[in-house]
Symmetry: D3
Subunit: 131 residues, 6 copies
């Protein structure tokens, strides 16, 4: 399974893969592709589908891009995904996350994981006002 | 274990518990206490400690309160905590979350859970630029 | 899938299933079988295998039975398994867990879930002394 | 995000951070601080808050300290937190956990994770006696 | 948050939503839509995107549709998602899953969750042959 | 805790451990033992019990061995267990998993993790037809 994890560089990529790489770089206004995409490139159909999803979901909309990165990090920390924490941590930093914001992000993530366990352990009844 | 989950109403609460309830209502500018606290009240030391943590962590700071609620929901959905999703969903709505923001929140949470699994399954090497 | 979840009562059970039920009641010195086993009974091979595992692992040994129940609850709360929290909560209570011990159990479970997220989010390097 | 994970040594710490370090060492009767705290020290408010929580929750009480470490490990293994398994494994060993106890701890953790999945998959109805 | 969970019936759906419903029914050769889609319909963009993903990923390919349902169930049980276990359990049954296959599926899911915890707890080194 | 993770080679193993190793090699028709078993060997009772379970559950039955490996991988990816993903990825490859099947396996695992979160977040009501 690990063999698949070797990143495919632009120079070695097929025309189909290069088209996705080009769109990633154009959308992100960068000349660089991170390993997530270069590893997915072993399966071009998934590369294409996943990029289409990320491009649509992470675009500016009702929530600003930095908030979306913070939400992404909250999920990634809760799942324990090191790669995702590193890549979206970098993404949030690039979008302007300050050390103080980072510290508060972690405080909320930690606290939510703690209180979640109390709510489950005590089988808390959902308040009528929340329905 | 379930017996502990019966909420303790203000009228039936000890002086120690009422002091926490009073501070919750004063801090939140409301006359209402949700079940999370009323169930925790069976253990006043935990009630006091947990409220002190929530009060400090969820206060306005480098991140605004609504963003903190969104992060809380992201953790709660990923952990599958129904009570927490309901209570912090209500909290975010009270702070102004629109249906469009809610929709985007869920889209990011879902997508992050999906891409997390690809990153783990393929044991993605962390890019040098992310270190 | 839900159809399989109807518990099989002793009176309706096959000889093979009754033999496991009898051993559960003899081992636990009770005349009662909880639903976990009655639902597993739809698949006698799994019923037999799972009971053999529980009987061996949960027997008194280097750790006392109450401590084993607390560990079981810690896992069940972290996984969010309502049935397991209820059944092992009852088991711990039957073995003498006091309300004060229950309160401390939950406090440790909650705190561990919180600190786990900080350790993962900050990719804490393991201290040499811990190796 | 990874940059924040460099541990801050006592010699380089602010007065506020040193006060927490001093209290950790005094409470634990040791002259050593593990990386968890040295990394948290980048955010002194969280360092102070988290240590206050750990100090209160992990103190001897209705449950003895070794039992609390076992519960901590059960959560950490279920969450897959390597740092936490290493640090609380060392903590339990320091408090007297024998290899036989360690082996039984892992057996219970593994079994609980297995049976949790059966209970969820078959949507086991909670027995009346457990309510 | 719960208010959003009311399913939108075909008769009440917008033209855009009906187009997705029609494609779901045509693809699945049925005249029925399950609640997952009817609830997602509150957010037509997500409904469209998610159905496009499910349609592409769950189509017959290198893996047959029944195997894909089993994999889906394994994820859903591990995540503790009741709705997903029920819907994909029904899906697998419709595709021919026998009670014996269902029993073996659960046995593998349970065992994998157990052994996963041992591998993590003991920080097993990955064998050279697996790289 | 990490000290226990040193694999015990056949030459250094007790008679009891060698008997399990011999049965693993005979059952798998190989002359090689992977680290999972060599690390478990520090606790012979668990080694014996766990191997008995794996041997029974993973044997050919109503589901073929390759399908069982795919289910195992789905659980391991969802739990984020690197060792388990590597070992069962190798197992599936040895049983004939093609790169195209691997790609579809990951696509289903990722998608299931995404849709699970939507179902939980929106508290989807289980359809009558699924009961």
């Amino acid at each position: 399974m690990s063999a698949a994890a070797i990143p495919i560089e632009y120079a070695d990529a097929s025309r189909e893969v290069r088209a996705v790489y080009d769109d990633i770089m154009a959308t992100r206004k960068t000349d660089w592709i991170n390993n997530f995409w270069k590893v997915l490139a072993h399966d071009p159909a998934t590369l294409r589908r996943m990029w289409a999803n990320v491009k649509e979901v992470m675009a500016p909309g009702a929530l600003d891009p930095m908030t979306k990165e913070l939400i992404y990090i909250a999920v990634s920390v809760t799942n324990g995904c090191r790669y995702c924490i590193a890549s979206h941590g970098a993404g949030a930093t690039a979008k302007g996350m300050t050390p103080a914001q980072h510290a508060e992000l972690l405080a909320v993530i930690g606290l939510a994981n703690e209180t979640n366990r109390f709510a489950v352990a005590l089988d808390m009844p959902i308040d009528e006002r929340f329905r």
